[in-house]
């Protein structure tokens, strides 16, 4: 009998030993980092971080966004940094919150955000995704960590009363859809409009914007990202078949690129060719066509589709385009082999867009930066010298970010061009009009040239 005790005792103790040992191992790996007055800021360096999908269903295209921003930071670092500080950017993979076989064992967004908090970071900058970033809002808030330039057009980021440190960046899905609605009612006044959106704020905000703009789709479908992962995209086909049965002539897609692919592919199979209107985040020609081309398709079914852009298109004459190419060519770690012939895709532009906005805001905050002083500068400055078409302006009551851009049409597998070159702006209210404006943003600040 005593042998049993001894055995159990040793098993238990061994288990405990292992537990505590591993606990300590985990702790010691991540707790390195000196405490400073403002977390993440030292005399020579400022540390920021983000959770982004480097693997999984949303990674095609989206994995480039934060890397492109990092290229901006490295470019700035090579010029001596901002106010004497180099920017260190920590990227954590969260698999877009949908861990499947493509990313088994990838920790959740919350876990990865905890890792960023312990780094510690000054702020999270450019984390990606609506549901993923929604889930860490209160965690970041309660720790006083600013959550800047969330890569999503949800209206969730504009809630300064509840989340004073939370800021969006891109033109919201809602505003974008209102601009689409204006275009659709002007161009296809008699169209039978149908809508396919993602089953979260992305889809519902977009739909609300269309309706606010005066276009009520005759058929509305919302797809599930989970089902998209499980079925490798084939879950989209029934929706498209339905649109065909319903004789839709204009189909609006509020989809991530993987779902855009599936929708265009299904339509191709069915011989269904409506006028496509595709949200800015799901329409980048390079990202959409790459998997179709890998599967052997030669003609891009997206050509002719209408989309939206809050950044100058790669083929435009904007001075920012050659600057972006310079930044990406200079940085060899994130985009190895990027050369003068490589296509500058929308995801890279997107990342560079808010990357520049961040360094501008950082510069404006001066040498003695704290989180409070940074946020104050952010909400009291108009940033008109960033790549975006409209100036970036936050106020104490509006944290949404950009509020306009131009309509584009996809012209080839690698490019899109503005339809009329007019820049439209609007707001998120149901009554706010869509206004056409002249060019609003100015060129590259001299210190970045």
């Amino acid at each position: 009998m005593s042998k049993t005790y001894a055995r159990r005792f040793v098993t238990t103790s061994a288990a405990l030993l292992l537990c505590t040992g591993l606990v300590m191992a985990g702790g010691s790996i991540v707790t390195a980092g000196a405490a400073t007055h403002t977390p993440g800021v030292t005399a020579k360096q400022i540390t920021i971080g983000a959770t982004v999908p480097l693997t999984g269903i949303a990674s095609p295209g989206y994995s480039e966004v934060a890397k492109a921003a990092d290229a901006v930071f490295m470019y700035v670092n090579s010029k001596g940094g901002v106010n004497g500080r180099k920017i260190k950017y920590i990227l954590k993979d969260d698999c877009y919150g949908t861990p499947g076989f493509g990313c088994t064992g990838t920790p959740s967004t919350v876990t990865q955000t905890h890792a960023l908090l312990s780094a510690p970071v000054f702020a999270t900058v450019g984390s990606l995704g609506t549901p993923t970033q929604d889930s860490v809002r209160s965690l970041l808030k309660s720790n006083g960590v600013p959550q800047l330039f969330v890569n999503s057009g949800s209206r969730d980021w504009n809630n300064p009363t509840l989340y004073p440190g939370l800021f969006g960046w891109q033109t919201s899905y809602n505003e974008e859809s209102k601009i689409f609605a204006k275009y659709i009612s002007a161009t296809y006044p008699t169209a039978n409009v149908c809508f396919l959106g993602q089953g979260d704020d992305f889809g519902s905000d977009g739909l609300a914007g269309l309706v606010a703009g005066g276009v009520t789709p005759s058929d509305t479908q919302l797809y599930s990202v989970g089902a998209l992962v499980v079925t490798q995209g084939t879950s989209i086909a029934p929706y498209i078949a339905r649109f065909q049965t319903d004789k839709c002539t204009v189909v609006v897609l509020d989809t991530i690129p993987g779902a855009t692919d599936a929708a265009l592919g299904a339509a191709l199979q069915l011989g269904f060719s409506p006028h496509w209107v595709i949200s800015s985040v799901g329409s980048d020609p390079v990202t959409v066509f790459a998997p179709l081309a890998a599967k052997g398709l030669t003609a891009d079914p997206e050509v002719g589709a209408v989309s939206f852009s809050f950044l100058p298109t790669a083929g435009s004459s904007s001075a920012w385009i050659p600057w972006m190419r310079k930044v990406l060519t200079k940085d060899t770690s994130q985009f190895p082999g990027f050369s003068s012939t490589t296509t500058l895709d929308g995801n890279m532009e997107y990342g560079i867009g808010w990357g520049v906005a961040f360094v501008e805001a950082l510069k404006a905050s001066g040498k003695n930066i704290t989180r409070a002083s940074f946020l104050k500068v952010l909400t009291h400055t108009t940033f008109s010298q960033t790549p975006s078409l409209t100036p970036l302006r936050y106020t104490a009551t509006d944290h949404q970010g950009l509020n306009g851009g131009y309509l584009v049409t996809v012209t080839s597998a690698t490019s899109a061009k503005p339809i009329d070159g007019k820049i439209y702006t609007t707001d998120s209210s149901s009554t706010g009009p869509v206004i056409s404006a002249k060019k609003l943003s100015r060129g590259i600040p001299s210190w970045l040239k």
């Binding site: 693997t55 076989f101 084939t234 011989g271 998997p291 599967k295």
Partner: protein, 299 residues
């Protein structure tokens, strides 16, 4: 006639049939392994996936579609045989859950290795058949040249397997060693070889199926290409009965058609839920599958 062929009902039946033969093939490959070695192979989707990638590697040197198919099938046979000899052999006579766990582990390893080598982005296999549905009077009929190719290939495979088992000496030996290994051994059948052959055949069938799925333009080849299809194929095999090849095929095709109707008339979400309900109901009625002959389990 045109209106009939492009009607919603016929579209759903044709679309369902194209999916259903694929589920039937997966189910058939599961049944082949189950009958020969009594193991439910959870890596039944991943093993052929590796074989298809191996075919793809050769294709990269531009030998064309048919050599790719041939190489993939040969690779499939080898993957099946090697797996049985190296991994599965140690699992005979172990508790029921051991092979399940090992094959689940094998599944993750294979998918991880494939993704590490070839990445998770889809690859296409350009093939001689167009995936675009035929049109009649401006409306699609839910069938493309590629769909016909899928159905014909599946039929050929199913008939070949039936012929092999019913009408050849080898088929007789395979059946005998599955049913009564001791007796077969006494009669001079090399049972061990037959077990390996069961896995070889099964992975071969699975590879043909995976090549079909991956050649489908709308799916492409990814390491996870068979995950969803495996679930439906398993449901078909379980509904039909894990030891009934006919049941597997009939159940596969019927489930394919039923789910197509559900997807069309209800919504996408309802597809997998309906599949789950079908599985639960059929298992409650016949726990060993609808097509299995009831046999008392020996104690």
């Amino acid at each position: 006639m045109d209106a009939f062929l492009t009607s919603r009902i016929i579209s759903d039946i044709l679309g369902g049939l194209t999916n259903g033969v694929i589920y039937g093939l997966v189910a058939l490959s599961l049944v082949l392994v189950w009958r020969s070695t009594g193991i439910l192979n959870f890596a039944q989707g991943a093993m052929p996936m590796i074989a298809t990638y191996l075919g793809m590697v050769v294709f990269a040197h531009r030998f064309g579609y048919w050599p790719l198919v041939a190489i993939a099938i040969v690779a499939g046979f080898s993957v099946g045989g090697v797996t049985e000899r190296v991994l599965v052999r140690h699992l005979y006579g172990k508790p029921e859950i051991n092979p399940i766990v090992v094959m689940v582990g094998f599944l993750i390893v294979l998918e991880g290795v494939a993704a590490a080598i070839w990445s998770t982005s889809p690859r296409g296999i350009p093939n001689p058949f167009s995936p675009i549905d035929w049109q009649l009077g401006g409306k699609p009929i839910a069938l493309s040249p590629f769909g016909v190719y899928e159905i014909v290939t599946a039929l050929v495979v199913m008939i070949s397997v039936a012929v092999l088992f019913r009408f050849t000496k080898l088929g007789l030996q395979l059946r005998a060693s599955a049913l009564a290994p001791e007796v077969s051994r006494l009669l001079g059948v090399r049972v061990s070889r037959m077990l390996t052959l069961g896995w070889v055949l099964s992975t071969g069938v699975g590879t043909i199926c995976t090549v079909l799925v991956a050649s489908n333009f709308f799916t492409g080849l990814t390491p996870q290409v068979m995950d969803g299809i495996f679930a439906f194929g398993f449901i078909a095999a379980a509904v039909g009965g894990l030891d009934s090849p006919v049941g597997a095929i009939v159940a596969g095709v019927s489930i394919g058609i039923v789910l197509q109707f559900v997807g069309d008339f209800v919504n996408s979400n309802a597809i997998i839920i309906t599949a789950l309900v079908i599985l639960i109901l059929s298992l409650m009625v016949r726990p060993n599958g609808l097509f299995t002959k009831n046999t008392a389990r020996r104690v």
